[in-house]
Symmetry: none
Subunit: 414 residues, 2 copies
């Protein structure tokens, strides 16, 4: 079973607004084994709304609509759904009474416009809404299943959980979906694709998606099964084959972020990390301390933005800076050594570079970043030129630094 979600309301298409129900429903449906293949956000226009329902019904087995069930003339979901399904609307007496009772309970008179909230798709069922006046609806016919839910999340969510989800589970049974996310730093999207595509092309029954972030690539692998074991039995062997094909480049396959992986390796090794950053200005420290419990592996960091601070805090020789420039592998190496010494840490990492937009030269262009990682046993350095703006250069530098630490800790070559 595949699903489409239709979010109804001109306000969702106004500046600075968005639909929050769709992402929530997408997650809940995924967990129930029902992938969402299409989402539509439509303004309050009867014809367009009916076309949106037609497309949803044509491209999926289940359409869930949110919003447009209110009493005003802008609320057109019922009419549009009826038009798309080719069925009539009938006024449901019980639903009407429930709306009346709700108004009475809050001591307010019911306006005549509210009566249309009791209009139900012919052949459909009313889903009683205990958190608002608009009841939901469930319709199952030859063209597919249609569930109409109110727009306010505090009404929509409980109605989905109590009325829609049980009906779906009765239909799809105990189908379960399991996903593995392989996270790869230090490789480009097409480079990963080049290696991964021949592997997953030979693996039927697993849905694969490649996702490129600012400095990381993710491979999402999803398979379905009657049981968790069956779903995992499909997805895990492919994950393992990809791990092998990618030669240790996969930092995590369980959703953990690169900082979490590096933090875990440090804790396992009983090592603490010292950080010395110049162009990334605290971003690496900030990413590592996103990890709860990071005090177990991180004790201090130095943001040494000026040359003077590199000397004062890390003991970098001013002559070294004069000779090679602040952005050089030599200075990166001295920064790492100084940070490790100053923090009495097991591992130290240093980053120095030119994030831009200014400060580049033909010799040392914007995007040039030099790295060093020092442990008691070895020192590794790296010099990269990253494309993109200031923000992207900094993010890529942080990802590369994390990947360098990961490889040092695992004894993998660069």
């Amino acid at each position: 079973m595949k699903a489409a979600i239709v979010a109804v309301g001109s306000e969702l298409l106004a500046h600075g607004r968005d639909d929050t129900n769709g992402p929530w429903l997408t997650g809940r449906l995924r967990q129930a084994g029902i992938p969402v293949v299409l989402r539509l956000l439509v303004d309050d226009h009867r014809g367009r709304l009916a076309e949106a329902f037609r497309l949803g019904l044509a491209e999926s087995d289940l359409v869930i609509a949110t919003g447009g069930l209110g009493p005003t003339e802008d609320d057109l979901t019922r009419e549009a759904a009826a038009a798309a399904l080719g069925v009539a609307l009938r006024r449901d007496t019980a639903a009407l009474e429930a709306i009346r009772a709700r108004f009475a309970r809050f001591g307010r008179p019911m306006a005549p416009v509210n009566e249309k909230q009791a209009d139900v798709l012919e052949g459909g069922e009313v889903l009683a809404n205990s958190n608002g006046t608009a009841p939901g609806q469930w319709f199952s016919g030859p063209r597919g299943i249609l569930a109409l839910l109110p727009g306010p999340p505090r009404e929509m969510m409980p109605l989905f959980e109590t009325a829609v989800l049980p009906r779906l589970q009765a239909l799809v049974g105990a189908r379960v979906l399991r996903t593995r996310v392989l996270r790869i730093a230090g490789m480009g999207e097409s480079e990963v694709e080049q290696i991964a595509a021949p592997v997953y092309a030979t693996w039927p029954g697993v849905e694969t998606t490649i996702l490129a972030g600012p400095a990381e690539v993710e491979l999402h692998l999803t398979a379905e099964g009657a049981t968790e074991g069956e779903a995992l039995g499909r997805v895990v062997p492919l994950a393992e084959a990809l791990q092998e094909a990618l030669l240790g480049r996969v930092a995590s396959d369980d959703g953990r972020s690169l900082p979490e992986v590096v933090g875990g390796l440090l804790v396992d090794a009983g090592l603490s990390l010292a950080i010395a950053e110049s162009c990334t200005g605290g971003l690496l420290s900030s990413r590592l301390t996103e990890v709860p419990g990071s005090s177990r592996f991180f004790d201090r960091g130095f943001v040494t933005y000026s040359n003077e601070s590199k000397t004062a805090l890390l003991g970098v020789d001013p002559e070294l800076v004069a000779r090679h420039g602040a952005v050089s592998v030599e200075v990166a190496r001295a920064m790492a050594a100084g940070a490790r010494r100053a923090a009495s840490a097991g591992v130290a990492v240093a980053i120095t570079g030119i994030a831009g937009p200014d400060g580049g030269t033909p010799d040392k262009p914007v995007g040039l970043v030099c790295f060093a990682v020092e442990t008691v046993a070895e020192v590794r350095v790296r010099r990269s030129v990253f494309p993109g703006d200031r923000d992207r250069v900094r993010r890529q530098a942080v990802a590369v630094a994390l990947e360098m630490i990961r490889r040092v800790l695992l004894g993998l070559e660069d």
Copy 2:
């Protein structure tokens, strides 16, 4: 003219993901006088994608698609758009050369799969993308206008601004819309709304939107006019009335971020800033060094995560920590004093807190953060308890610290 937006990519329909391009484009189009009536998010499925384009073309005059222009077999936007329009694709020699040149510039070999990124809709134009390998496309025909843009926002946004928007303005005429964004840190959304609503209710002809971020509130004020002067004549008086009503709480009204405002004030005052961070772990330094040219006001930062590092780097008396705890205004004050001394800086800020999820006590709950700002003339401290998870606590702490520095520099009371 009405627009539809098609966001392409299975990853947008995965759990926990969403399309961020659509809301941005909706705002930009709205400012150009083009309302968005339909948004579609579609998985990487050729047939469904073609149907989405057909619906977009049927229901609007302009379809803007984002994503699916990469080199992999999942990237189907070109093929689907061609199918919906009923035109062929041709390989564009100039676009192919541009892609090759881009790879050469970064010293990487171009994979054969990248060649299809030069496939262009017959009769369409190539929109050169200087920030990535995927060129955009512009197609105008009897069924409507179709613009294909890359998915990564850092590529999509500049391409929209430089290539798509001018073409649209040539069609619809350049309507003059002017927006003021009032940025407010350290106040909640409803608190701002409470003060602002009565002010803008009496101001006709200005569209107002309130947007609440993780630690900041933005008021967007937009007015239209035949000329820039007319538009500004509507929006500026309201902006000024709101500034006054909000009593100096507005950090910027020209789109500058809080770090940019604080950086500008430091440069104007000829002061440098030293930073000492515990629970925010480098996030404040990282935010301030996002600002290009931040070396003019920032020299060094200390991420002092452990108690030992607070003593070693900032000279915080261990007895003070033992008496008041590391998370206390007393220790924050000592951290700021130590950072200012160690960096010979004009201003120092210190943050120490409990970001969670663990480490809280009844006395010092998760979310408690203590701050200090020290200048040559004064010391200010603050103690706040922030709601939300680790990430949200850290972001709120950074915003409050920036706002404290801003107010000290402007001589405003807290």
